[in-house]
Structures are given as structure tokens and as C-alpha cells.
Amino acid sequence: MKLSCTSLISTCFLLALPGVALSAEVSVDATAIVRFEQRANTGFPKQDLAPATQFLGLDVNKLGDGNLSLHVSGWGREDILDKSYYNNDQAVGSLTYGYLQYRFNRAADARLGRFFVHEGAVNEQVDGLSLRSDLPLGFGVSVFGGANVHTQHLANENTDGKGDAITGGRINYRYKGMLELGASGVYESKAPTLTDPAHVALLNGGKLGDHRLIGGDVWFSPFRMVEVMGHTTYNPETRGVAEHTYLLNVKPVQHLVLTGEFNEHRERNFFFGSAMFASLLNDLNEKSRSIGGSASYEISQALEVAADYKHFTRDAGNADRSGGDIRLSFLDNSVRSGLGYHYVRISKDFVNVMGTPMDSYHEMRVYAMHDTKNYFAAVDLLDYLFQEKVNNEQNAWEAMASLGYHLTPQLAVSGDFSYGRNPEYIRDIKGLVRLTYNMTFDSKGGKK
């Protein structure tokens, strides 16, 4: 199935190539990044690493009769010096997405190839076909199906824990800019069974949970200044509610936004289809809940302030996160800056994997950046200040500086350097060089 889908995608791209030459709009985004690292761990030989990564994106619009488009994005990485821990081999790559899209009119489209689906309760990456359409009387429908896109195999296994085939969709109804109701679902073919004796002993004889979910979502705006949205999902495999997640937005005056949110997860039902998470938690019967609120106000185009609070509750304990952010912008948005402070209070019931209580901490950040026609620069400072030392360290901090130069309006070279100290490393020094190329040929609209 996987092989046939890959062949199908390749064939589609080859068929599209003649059209590319005649197309009205081609957009290319390319970024090459070389990271420089030196690793010196006790008991291991010192390594000099220089993984080079090429990100490449191509969008070709107005193919054929003008309604067909091609979208491709992916990356490849090669180790210039020693083989890095990033790669199993010296080189690796990934096709993030690659699909042909046909817009039947402004209200419907079809996609063929590798693409992402975000519809209601569904979040998947698929090699296959999707159809979406608005329908008369406020209805809409979307369906998709194909092969699952697999990821890294689990340790000592020949699978990532996901089934091979997947299908799903969403139907929705919209009423006069006031209400939207949706129902969505995803059905994945049977999950594989693990064979490693350790996994077999841990996980119900190695049997993984099948990934199947159904959900209902809502958007409701009785007045223009108020909107409520969110969804609830149900896991038919475990026969229980997996998630409630809802958001309330209130805009009483211009530039002021007040929000409230409620999230609740029944962890066994929510994590059931994930090989990693299902085995990660000691007690899958736990329930987690978070309730919070925030407010943001744009005082002027140059100044925006925000404050937020969130309370987390799990069977294991509770915590609060509260704080605020300020965003500034000057000189026609060419200088942008921000600073933020948050305090996270953690109850003593919460313990880490070592069985010791986790500590509360302060989080502080300040950044500034400047863009000009010729050069661009940024600095970013981040500090986590723990109330009690972690691994004998009071802080986890990092300072980063970036400087770049526009060789042409489309081509830029830049470099980043960061220095930090934290409970993991006595010194954490990183650097990279980046070459960015963004070009659109004969563009009419704007996409960033």
C-alpha cells in the first residue's frame, strides 16, 4: 500500500512537470542550514558535527485550466563531518507534503498525494485523496482516505505503531454567521502487534490500541463580540469520552480580547491510539483538566499588552501558570520587541521520575529584532529560574544573537550564535549558518 501510494505520488508529479513550464505562477522557498556542533561526553570520543540541511518548498499555481496547483515541501540532511546522532545513515530526508490540488470552484477542492488533514477532531498526514466542498443551505463536507504516513520505528520493533490505512472526514452546518456545528471521525486500520519481549510484557501482550475517534465541534457567536468554540471527542475503542476542549472569546471594546478556556482529557481514551503515550503513563486511568483565562489589549499599533492565568489539575497534583507579555513595534514595524514573565507554581504532590517533588519556577524572556532592506538582526534572552536547584543548577538560560544580510531581495545569508547554561549542560554553545532563497515568479496574491 505504502509503495503503491509513493509510486502514485511520483507519477502525479511527473505528469505535472510539463504544466510547470507553462504555468502562470511558480513560487520557490529554499533554506539551507549548516549547524556546527562539538560533542564531548565522558567515556565517548569527541565528535565534530556539521549536519547540513536543505529545506525546499515549491508551489505551482494556475496549471492546466488554471484551477490545478502543485504543492511540494520537504527536506534532506547530510553530515559534512562526523556522522551525527541525527542520522541513522550519513544522509536522510523527508517529504513533508506533496500534492496536486484542483479547485472545482471557490467552494470545493480535491487533493491527491501526501497532505495534512485538519478537520474537527482529525489531525492526520495521509498519502491519498481528499475532497472538500461547501454545499447549499449552509452544509459542508470533507472526506479523505489513503495510506498512513509512517514515522520512526519504535525501539527494537519494525513498526511505528500505526495502522497502514486511514480514512475519515467531517460534515458541518453553518447558520447565518452565528452557528457552526460539525461532526468528524477518523478510522485507522488495525494497529500492529509489538514483538519485543519487553513491550509484550508491558503492553497487553504487545497489542497496541487501534486509532479510531469520533467528535463533535461547535462555533457559536450569538453576538458579534462573543464567540464560543471547541470540540468533544469519543473513543469507540475504549467506549469513553477522550477530550473536551472549549474556548470563549469576548471582545467588549475594540482592541480588547478576553478569553476563557476549559480542557479535560481522559488519558486512557485520549492516548489509546499512541504506542508511545500509552506506555508512558503509569496510570492511564488519570484525568487531566486545565481551566484558564487571558486578556490582551492593543494600546496602540506600537504597544500591546497581555496577561494570562491557567490552573492545571491532574490526579497527581495541581499547578498554576500566570504572567504577562508586552509586545512593541517601531519604525513601521521594522523594529519588533517583546518581553514576558510567567510564574509556574507546582504543588508538592507532583513528583518527577525520580520520585522527588517538582519545583516551581519563574520564566523570563526578552527579545528584539530589526529588519532593513540590507540587513536583519535579532537577540533573544530566555531564563528559567527554579525555586530549588535542579542538578545543582538554579537556572536554565540561553542567549541567542542572529545577524543576516540580504544579498538580493530574494537571497539572504544569516548566522545564529547561542550560549547557555542549564541543568543538562555546563555550557551549551550552538551556531549555524543559514542561506535563504524566497522567490515568486509572476505572483498576484500574497502568501507568506
Binding site: F55, S94, G138, Y175, M276, F277, D380
Partner: protein, 158 residues
């Protein structure tokens, strides 16, 4: 369970049939344009209400709902899950997939170190912090790393 297994493909098929049946009536639907007619600047805090006072015809929602306030950016998943096509009029898929992807090459905050104004997850040394934040709210980890983008996670969490 058996009921679900039978009903789900049937519902998907019914959806396809509804599409075909409705095709003849679809020319009058407002829908969405392929792209925004004006190019938007990188780093701009987009306020749709600056130019649009009315309702976005394709989504039937007020334009102001989609203004990119800090709250919108923080909670954008709610909007993307029902109006992804509206997002795509301004954003390429790659804009979303910088963070939401199957196999991330490097931390988005590292790739875009020159853009500290963008909301990027896991800035700084997140190795220390993930042990705390993952314990407080494991569901927030699951959204991105549950069934994909977890090649780094499984080296320790199995």
C-alpha cells in the same frame, strides 16, 4: 465497535454522494478565493477588521474573528480545525508544517532563530523543561508528538 466499523465507511460514502448531488447547485455558493488579493508583510499582526467590516462569505463568520491577536495565535487550532481553507488563502501549508509535521528536522525555534517574534515551541534548553511541563499537561505534548514527530521522544520514552 462493529456498528462503528460498518457505519463509518457508509457515512464516508454518503458524504461523497452528497457532494455529487449538490454539484449542480454549487455555482451560486460564495466560497473562498485561492489567495488574498493583497500581499501581507512578514511579521505583521494581521487585523482583518482594518479593511473588512462585514462577514467573510465563505466561512459565514465575521472577519474580526480571524484577526491575529495574541489570543488568536495562542488558540489558532480552534480556527484551523474548521476553517483551514481560509488559513490557506494567506498561508502556505509549509507555514503550518514548520511546527505541525510528521518528522521535524530541527526545532522550529532553531530554524527560525532570526525570527524571535514568531510563537515557536520549546525555545531554549527544553530538555529540562519538558520533564516538568509534560507532567503538568501531557495532552499538550500529545497533540504534536502523540502519533508523529516523535523520533526524538522514543529514544527515551518507549
Amino acid at each position: 465497535m462493529r456498528f462503528f466499523q460498518v457505519m463509518f465507511p457508509a457515512l464516508a460514502l454518503a458524504g461523497l454522494m452528497i457532494i455529487l448531488a449538490a454539484c449542480a447547485q454549487m455555482n451560486g455558493l460564495p466560497g473562498l478565493p485561492a489567495s488574498h488579493p493583497e500581499a501581507l508583510l512578514a511579521g505583521q499582526q494581521v487585523s482583518c477588521a482594518e479593511c473588512h467590516e462585514d462577514q467573510q462569505k465563505g466561512t459565514m463568520k465575521a472577519f474580526d474573528s480571524f484577526s491575529h491577536t495574541p489570543e488568536f495565535v495562542k488558540n489558532h487550532r480552534f480556527y484551523a480545525s474548521s476553517d483551514e481553507r481560509l488559513c490557506s488563502t494567506c498561508h502556505k501549508s509549509s507555514f503550518c508544517n514548520d511546527c505541525h509535521t510528521n518528522q521535524v528536522e530541527m526545532k522550529p525555534s532553531l530554524r527560525y532563530g532570526n525570527r524571535p517574534d514568531r510563537e515557536m515551541p520549546h525555545r531554549g534548553n527544553y530538555m529540562t523543561m519538558h520533564r516538568i511541563e509534560g507532567k503538568l499537561d501531557p495532552a499538550s505534548c500529545y497533540r504534536c508528538h502523540g502519533r508523529a514527530n516523535n523520533e526524538r521522544c522514543i529514544s527515551c520514552h518507549q
